[in-house]
């Protein structure tokens, strides 16, 4: 955990006082709806059709058990007993009362938490790899860089009223587990030949209604120039980003309209003035931030554990869980563990107060009192001793968080959809459930192997359907709920050689009841065509193209043409 110093704490406390005053003036009629809206949104407070929603920041997904217990208490006291972990590494509460929100924020401030800039046209919570600091392929500890950026972006006086929201991701390892190519700015740490750390900077990626893969504006930005360079990007965006049309206001549109080369020139011209100025980072500051992170006091342990090996050899269920939900660690004798929040029948990401408390107890006993929230809406215990894995598994199983499906088809990313969201075209949670029920045979799931299936209830793409290997999008046809299916999306270069890509729609959409069948056909097509178990669904789609998959769902091109003619004739 990064521990606040006095100034960090004071700023958060001052924010609570500011919002308390704003809420008071709104309730007293001194602020219009419109004016208050802009202020409450930057404190994470939405007012939706069903109820308000408060989005609490979990900076870069890192959480202490003290904070989790506070979240549990707040959820219990001010909400209906459960919260929702989102793909932006936030916790969302769905029924807080407006008048009580300042009190909630004050409670959060006591454990160094807040809801600053979790919504509105502001610089949002920075997200990163959920294995930061423990991954074997680490280049830098991305938490340190996320915290530097968190500080720089918090209450930035010049960039507090951007044309639109601004999302930032940092990846510090070789594999991109932070989806840097689909963020307004993505940083991917790299080292140059001398071993100096820098960042590959991507700009203009994003999902939503105009999905885009970010372009590389700079191959290598030395770390000390990080803040001045992003300041230059943000200034160009703040001045020239479109403000006339909310759907064209993201930086990706500016980049597209200017052309990447022209955009780069403008940023460089601006940067020429800022480069080497006072905001240039110094090693002492990086060291200071690093030193304010608490670190697990790891024991010296052997790289293997005989008890673990024995259990893996004899207990199949444990071995299955270990295969999917336990991940390698850079320290010998430790592993990272995913607690799956994707149990069939439960909305993905939902956690009750009791579960939060139990998770906090487990994290205290097994993982140095810390946990992470992943953008796949799971929780991670990053530092578990190999010797403790079996005991942890038994306890996690009891809680219902041991579904051994991480990386598999049933580990679905899914937005709240029509059950909760006023913008939805269609429900998404029941679709996820139906797919999870159809694919409930674990052996079959393991055989299918790694695949991302993502569902959004409308084109706002909260469920990241564009970057699912299979993406499902709820659409509205004459007031009915239909589902469009895409294949070929990929969130980032998790495996070398297969970078981020956007999915393509395979054809006409389906009724809800048909969706599990369609998924089954797509999977069948993949299994029939893969070279080996190592070749994933996404790899096959890119190797053989979409045609065989379309055929498996709609029949071959002749059949499809005949079908269309039939439809025309009957119309």
């Amino acid at each position: 955990m990064y521990l606040y110093d006095e100034i960090d704490q004071k700023l958060v406390d001052e924010r609570v006082a500011q919002f308390r005053d704003q809420t008071r003036r709104f309730l007293a009629g001194k602020l219009s709806e419109d004016e208050f809206r802009a202020l409450r949104l930057r404190n994470g407070l939405y007012i939706q059709r069903y109820a308000p929603m408060l989005r609490i920041a979990i900076p870069y997904g890192l959480l202490s058990t003290k904070q989790l217990r506070k979240l549990a208490q707040v959820t219990h006291q001010y909400d209906r007993g459960y919260g929702h972990f989102s793909t932006r590494q936030n916790l969302q509460l769905n029924w807080p009362k407006l008048e009580r929100v300042p009190d909630i924020l004050a409670e959060l401030a006591t454990v160094q938490m807040h809801a600053i800039q979790t919504s509105g046209n502001s610089f949002r919570n920075v997200t990163t790899d959920h294995f930061a600091g423990v991954a074997q392929d680490e280049i830098v500890d991305s938490f340190v860089w996320c915290e530097i950026i968190r500080q720089w972006s918090t209450f930035h006086p010049e960039f507090s009223y951007l044309p639109r929201k601004f999302k930032f991701a940092v990846n510090g390892a070789k594999s991109d587990r932070a989806a840097v190519a689909v963020h307004d700015i993505g940083l991917h740490a790299v080292k140059d030949e001398q071993g100096e750390v820098g960042f590959r900077v991507l700009v203009g990626g994003g999902l939503g209604r105009t999905p885009a893969i970010g372009f590389v504006i700079r191959e290598f930005l030395p770390w000390r120039h990080l803040l001045t360079y992003i300041e230059a990007i943000l200034r160009v965006y703040n001045r020239y980003g479109r403000r006339d049309n909310i759907h064209k206001a993201r930086i990706k549109i500016l980049v597209k309209e200017r052309g990447p080369e022209k955009f780069r020139e403008e940023v460089d011209a601006e940067w020429a003035h800022l480069k080497d100025g006072p905001a240039t980072l110094v090693p002492e500051e990086v060291a200071r931030i690093e030193s304010r992170f608490t670190r697990p006091s790891y024991l010296r342990l052997p790289a293997t554990d005989a008890g673990l090996e024995a259990a893996l050899a004899t207990e199949r269920a444990f071995a299955n869980w270990h295969k999917r939900n336990v991940h390698p660690h850079k320290k010998a004798g430790y592993a990272a563990v995913t607690l799956s929040l994707k149990k069939t029948g439960v909305p993905p990401g939902d956690v009750t107060v009791e579960q939060m408390e139990k998770i906090a107890d487990l994290a205290d006993r097994y993982s140095f009192g810390e946990l992470r929230v992943s953008h796949e809406q799971n929780l991670i215990f990053a530092d578990v001793q190999l010797a403790a894995l079996h005991a942890l598994w038994q306890e996690v199983k009891e809680l219902g968080f041991a579904t051994p499906n991480v990386g598999l088809l049933t580990n679905i990313i899914c937005c709240p959809g029509g059950d909760f969201c006023s913008l939805a075209n269609a429900k998404s949670i029941p679709v996820a459930e139906a797919i999870q029920q159809r694919f409930d045979d674990l052996d079959y799931l393991h055989d299918i192997g790694e695949i991302d299936l993502n569902i959004s209830g409308c084109m706002n793409a909260c469920g990241h359907h564009h970057v699912g290997h299979i993406g499902i999008l709820g659409v509205d046809k004459n007031g009915e709920e239909w589902y469009q299916i895409e294949i070929g999306g990929n969130q980032g270069e998790i495996r070398p050689g297969r970078g981020a890509s956007l999915g393509k729609v395979i054809g006409p959409s389906f009724a809800r009841a048909e969706v599990p069948d369609v998924i089954e056909k797509l999977i069948g097509c993949y299994l029939a065509r893969r070279d080996s178990e190592a070749e994933r669904f996404i790899d096959v789609v890119h190797r053989v193209g979409a045609e065989p998959f379309k055929e498996s769902v709609y029949g071959n091109a002749d059949q499809r043409a005949a079908h269309r003619r039939g439809q025309l004739a009957s119309a």
């Binding site: 700023l11 500080q151 006086p157 951007l162 500051e285 200071r288």
Partner: protein, 174 residues
């Protein structure tokens, strides 16, 4: 006369803001009095207005979609430059203000005009505004308290050119 907050006090305002006509026509410049003219007017009639500027009774205002670049060589001719906020959520004026102060070293009065509201004064002042023509319905007395909203800030700004991390390090060393 609209209320003006200047250097954190409520003051009377002697300046008269000249706006463009409904079709964007440039206004006439009255022969006397302190007037703030649209940037476009200054650019169109610069030669003839140079003498007026010498008397210290000419200010200019920049709209959110305009740049301070056009004024770069001339900023020191004006005792006052105003920046318009067409809507409070339009953040371009913050960048314009910083550029005027930091890049073009403008030292005169920098005034926020337009949809200027209580809750935005703090960041505006950080970006270099020292005068605020509040929207009419705002309570100027209450607005005076807003400048102390945050006791510090992480970034470089006009009021705090040295970022917090450098000040922290300096404090840690002493």
């Amino acid at each position: 006369m609209a209320t003006l907050i200047k250097e954190r006090r409520i003051v009377a305002d002697s300046w008269h803001l000249l706006e463009r006509g409904p079709k964007g026509e440039l206004p006439e410049v009255p022969a006397r009095g302190d007037v703030i003219v649209p940037l476009g007017l200054w650019l169109a009639r610069r030669e003839e207005l140079l003498a007026r500027a010498e008397t210290g009774t000419l200010g200019a205002w920049i709209d959110a979609n305009e740049g301070p670049e056009a004024l770069a060589a001339d900023v020191q001719r004006f005792p006052l430059i105003a920046v318009n906020f067409p809507k409070f959520g339009d953040g371009r004026g913050y960048s314009i203000a910083r550029l005027l102060r930091e890049r073009y070293s403008f030292k005169g009065e920098l005034r926020a005009i337009g949809d200027v509201l209580h809750d935005h004064l703090f960041f505006m002042s950080q970006c270099g505004f020292d005068a605020f023509a509040l929207r009419e319905d705002q309570d100027p007395q209450e607005a005076l308290s807003v400048f102390g909203t945050f006791s510090d800030g992480y970034q470089t700004s006009v009021l705090r050119p040295v970022p917090l991390f450098r000040r922290r390090l300096a404090a840690g060393k002493s």
